[in-house]
Symmetry: D2
Subunit: 355 residues, 4 copies
């Protein structure tokens, strides 16, 4: 099988580096261009590498970063683009690629709320790919943009999906403990976070509700309809390298007991698992029975096959009463909640014949 | 005015050291004995000192720690005891002191749920001191035990009191971010917490509900009646030195708007402020208007008069909708939520003529 | 006594904030202008405050920051300038102030190696103030620039001075453990330093030798002569908030024993102590006898009178053999090694009649 | 080839866990017993696991820990013992195993200075295995003990060996930055090290000189002769998870230039490389050319083949003058400087026919 030619945008950033790592030796995609701003032009991946949890193999280390010129990518025959661009520049560049007929899988928030652009989390809403058809109609050459969700909401939405489906729970509070890598590079100054918690992340709480309702909603008759779910979040930054922890609370009547909740999590499986996509976790949700898990340090290991290399969401400490439910949830923010989300989306699109 | 002779139990621990710092040169109490386990017998306060946010002045530094012998304290004429003992040994020793006629102000949880022992947070429930009369009847020589609350619930209860009173809100979720000093010494191993969050603190979530309901409840006809308030907590340990941060969520109908909530917090004042007790904060609750406060590093300064030397609770990021309320709250866990709570209790008892 | 009108340059930075804190209510100087770049123009000190170890009192909190216009300062009658500017812009602005007749006390490195500009550490080389006379001749209106030393070399030079004088030791190796605040704000990205050590600080090792030789040298016949001392440094950044720790090694023959070294440190005193300058530590060097001190967390307390409010250098773990000497040294990098150094210099200049 | 039956002592500790990880699926050894104190008896490896940088695979996770009974090990036919015991109990238990004829490869310091027991670092002193013959004479059944070196000195000695051999440099100062895992579990309390440096590690500085001189010395005529090398160390604990960083200084005349030093490091190779032992790094010393390496976070990756899975020593920042040499060195303290050292020793012994 011939691999599709792919490019990575924002290669010098934290998400771009994850794309490079996850797409190395990928069965469907062949990365022919690592793009970044002109400042990084000519530098190698080794020069900018910031990931400490996986090895930068010698082969990747020497790859050169080039500037970001859409025309060049078109000339090189790039068909698939993975975008780790900052949201303030992503919109225009991604549109440029899509207009040239490329399929753009983006981590940026620029297009997430567009009416014909899905926020795709394949285990939840693979049906939303239908919107791509609508979007293609307005693009000149059949290109399109598909987004992965915000890092915090990705993990949360995966965790909420079986609760909404099995028990009809709709009303959630969530407090987050978000890792440093979620703020990119240079990100959070060390003097602000050392020995501290920052109880504010710009626009994050709003995104969690808005994106969560779109992701968990439906697509039909040419448009998205929001889910009635409500997500009230309080978001903080903590001095942890990778892995967003979330304390989830739900209220309601006739709440299921703890084993029913655990079973709903454990039994959850969807289209990526059916297709056995290369990056899909065997189980989207791992339930930890210990009294003190999940922990970012122990449960967001990028290199661990048994932890799905960062693509599974880990839950633990499920506690219920007749009218309440509490649990903790952990998502690797730059893998499942970032680059890995878009890689999975591209794999799904490829296998569903959309690329 | 003659000062009352006082002793500190558990002087070598984090709470005991706070007692020593806060009672130094106190207008009502004269610390004549620093007690700890035999292991610390003969050591100086300087030898065991772990507080990095306030100076150990030279005079305190040289004070010797002695063993814990109730008989010796009685012979020395000790009338008031401040207990920073670990809860597994506190109960018996504190009973011993009370049976010798001493007034015991304790940070330990041993007696908190006793039917004639108040968990006293003077701004909330100074009327609960009435229970002391009942308790004295069963003690031989008029001694008694009064507890301060668990560190996390102290801050929370102070924050909830004006909301319960002004708006009748009763249903709360809370996620905590609790500091290392709350686990005592040696406490949390560094390899467990460095770059990590621990989503579990033994018995903490249960205490928050049980103690909160007792504190916010009433005392009448010789017994305590719980408040109908519900506190569902998810507690974590974070790599912060001092200051427990809490994300508070409430649901209800006809929620007040943000300025009404802020006014209720700011206008809150009670008996300790009327009496201008030496350790009482001028305002029990400080409202921060900034978008990113309170922060443990900036808002739990033990040495800052403008921050009430750790005795005020700081709130911020108040967000409301018609049916929800969210805010963050910060309490200095070893001052307001620990030793300082008991010092304030003893000051109140003294001024109310109970000592 | 009328106070001199003073201005602070770089008020929004870590060093500028220390100047504001240390000059608050100062007996000699009255800060009439807090200057910074236009970006901070109109903001208050509270808006930019990053110091977590001392309180920003309400009076300072509301002070407004203005742009940096030398002409405005001259019109306001500013006589003394404290510069916390970054070194890449400091040179020109400081020259501008000096040409207008102001006395500039600077933390920036721009003029440190100028042939008529002292790097003043009053306990070591108060005689170097003689160079000011030379410098004034080339300035139009009698203004001048005096520098404090690099943060790491300040502490080291204070520690080396008694060893050079009493024992003739000249040959030193030093490994540093430098705090985050030394890199300014935003400074070191948290993802680079969390759980890590950075074994490189640009130009720092060269400065330690060059500045050390100038500071410990002499001034005579109109020029500086370097000391023959050799300082070979290896500098690292560590995840500590304030306080540079240094491991010092010396080789030589007939080394003094440990008590002789301790006595030389403890007996060290100089002109600032004679004059009892307001910011001078009672003892420039504090010797800690414990086996595990000095520690940044415990020995660089800005608010502690017994620790000289960050102005003393702390040494410990003195170990000697016949041909070797080892000890650890700690300096508060933004106080003694930064703003406090220049405040002390200005106090000395004032008392010596140079202002 | 039949594998030798092996046991791990101290399986619940940080070093014991490394042994378990490194010996999993090992070509020479088959771990049949995981021993620890009675407190851990019956627990699984998963219950005690503290390593966050490598996966605990499901197969290892379920392995049960048993008590430490030498007789049981003998009955089970254990021939090789890997000891991660604390030094205060190791001596006796290791003697017990050796007296039963077992070959003990130990990380404990108990027997390191024994006159017939080698501190083996195969790249440096594989000839020291000759001492095993002497030792066997006094043991009843041909058993023996071989030690790996202290974690800090292992890395240092590997780095010094080519400098001593090629250039005759003998006089070294070294300042260390030692990771938390070197203190075992629970190890360093978090409140002591968070935002701090501890400038003292009990007995560490003495060990570095004494062990370094033995390791770099010779064995002949039945006894060890120390190397004339001098290692003056100042040791600190830093808030880093894994990887001891060391700042090395040397004085002398006619020092080699930087490229000669780098060549000596890079060309270094010895017996383990000749034999291509399973755990031997391809190159014992990796030279990093970047201005800011080695860093613990980036250069002590247990899971990285290109970084020799923690078995190579990494050096960088080589700086020389005519009479001085400085560089930084990094060693993974629980791999090369701990369990991995003993695994390599056992592999060498096996291939040299001593087992």
């Amino acid at each position: 099988m011939t691999k599709k030619k792919a490019a990575i945008l924002g290669s010098s950033g934290m998400i771009g580096q994850r794309f490079a790592q996850m797409l190395y030796d990928h069965p469907y995609f062949d990365v022919v261009a690592l793009c970044a701003s002109d400042r990084s032009n000519g530098r190698t991946l080794a020069d900018v590498w910031k990931l400490s949890d996986v090895e930068l193999c010698d082969e990747l280390a020497g790859r050169r970063i080039q500037g970001t010129a859409v025309g060049d990518l078109a000339r090189e025959g790039v068909e698939v683009v993975f975008s780790g661009l900052p949201s303030d520049v992503a919109g225009e560049v991604e549109d440029g690629c899509a207009e040239e007929g490329m399929a753009v899988f983006s981590n940026a928030s620029s297009h997430r709320m567009d009416p014909d652009t899905p926020i795709l989390v394949p285990e939840i809403n693979h049906q939303h790919m239908e919107a791509i058809g609508i979007q293609r109609e307005r693009r000149r050459k059949g290109g399109f943009v598909v987004n992965n969700a915000n890092c915090s909401v990705t993990g949360l939405a995966v965790g909420l999906k079986p609760l909404v489906d099995a028990f009809g729970i709709l009303d959630f509070n969530v407090a987050t403990y978000q890792a440093l890598s979620g703020a990119g590079y240079p990100g959070v100054p060390s003097v602000d976070i050392q020995g501290n918690i920052l109880p504010y992340i710009s626009k994050e709480e709003e995104k969690m509700n808005a994106e969560g309702r779109k992701i968990l909603g439906s697509f039909g008759e040419g448009r998205f309809s929001n889910s009635p779910v409500s997500i009230l979040a309080s978001c903080t930054r903590v001095n942890v390298r990778d892995g967003h922890l979330e304390a989830v609370f739900a209220k309601g009547s006739d709440m299921p007991d703890e084993s029913a909740v655990a079973s709903a999590f454990e039994g959850f499986s969807s289209r990526p698992q059916e297709l056995a996509l290369p990056t899909a976790p065997e189980k989207p949700i791992i339930v930890r029975p210990e009294p003190d898990r999940p922990q970012p340090l122990l449960d967001s290991l990028a290199g661990s096959p048994d932890r799905a290399r960062g693509m599974a969401v880990t839950v633990g400490r499920i506690r219920t009463s007749s009218d309440s439910l509490r649990f903790f949830l952990l998502v690797h923010n730059t893998i499942r909640g970032g680059a890995g989300g878009s890689v999975l989306n591209a794999e799904l699109a490829h296998r569903e014949g959309i690329l």
